[in-house]
């Protein structure tokens, strides 16, 4: 299993902040995972439908969205950060 965590409006659209999903093939990218989740429809399609608006982290490190998930334990999906 892989833990997926969501933040900000992605979290609100999906209606949860975290979930476990079946571990996909190791050559799956974050973008592939986003597309798989968006295909569930509803809030998933709303929050994850446009990958160009999304950023990601694997095991608490920012990564480009086309990064392979490999043996990641936690994948985070969120909008561009707005701290400071």
């Amino acid at each position: 299993m892989v833990t997926i965590v969501y933040f900000a409006w992605v979290r609100e659209a999906i209606g949860r902040d975290e979930e476990q999903v079946e571990r996909p093939a190791s050559d799956t990218t974050v973008a592939d995972l986003i597309a798989m989740l968006a295909a569930r429809g509803g809030g998933y399609a709303q929050g994850l439908g446009d990958a160009t608006r999304l950023r990601a982290a694997i095991d608490q490190r920012f990564v480009p969205i086309d990064t392979v998930i490999g043996d990641a334990r936690e994948v985070a999906i969120f909008p561009p950060v707005t701290g400071g």
Partner: protein, 147 residues
């Protein structure tokens, strides 16, 4: 000295500055970010990625310390619900050289804006809410430091 705190509560700017001054470098620079109450805004709600934030801010601070001769760095970032006038973020740097103190302070706040896992949601008097959109110019400012 390296102080990093991700917290809900307020902080005291004077005591943060005093700790940096006590390092004896002779130069201290700082930036304080405060919630603006414009356009009917009644509160900002800051969300972050608890498992990542501390380590990510540490990496940014390490970058600054590798790049400039600094005696001390303090970064405080609040999360939770903050009303207009509330302090959000503090960056303080101490060095023997004013240029190092000033430049590293600017670098740190630019990088926090575009590289720390925080998200801001605006709450307005009429009940409306809106997630703050990342600004391309903030990204460009952070990238400018890589040149």
């Amino acid at each position: 000295m390296k102080r990093i705190s991700i917290q809900t509560g307020d902080f005291d700017v004077a005591s943060e500055l005093a700790a940096l001054e006590a390092l004896g470098g002779g130069g201290v620079a700082s930036f304080t970010g405060v919630v603006r109450g414009e356009g009917g805004l009644i509160a900002l709600e800051l969300e972050h990625y608890p498992a990542m934030t501390q380590a990510q801010v540490e990496r940014i601070v390490e970058d600054a310390m590798a790049r400039w001769p600094l005696l001390g760095v303090s970064v405080i970032h609040r999360f939770g619900r903050l009303e207009p006038g509330a302090r959000i973020v503090f960056v303080g740097t101490a060095s023997r050289h004013r240029t190092a103190a000033l430049e590293s302070c600017a670098f740190l706040i630019d990088w926090l804006k575009s590289h720390a896992p925080f998200w801001k949601k605006e709450h307005f008097a009429d009940g409306a809410t809106a997630w703050v959109e990342a600004r391309a110019e903030d990204d460009a400012k952070a990238k400018g430091w890589s040149a």
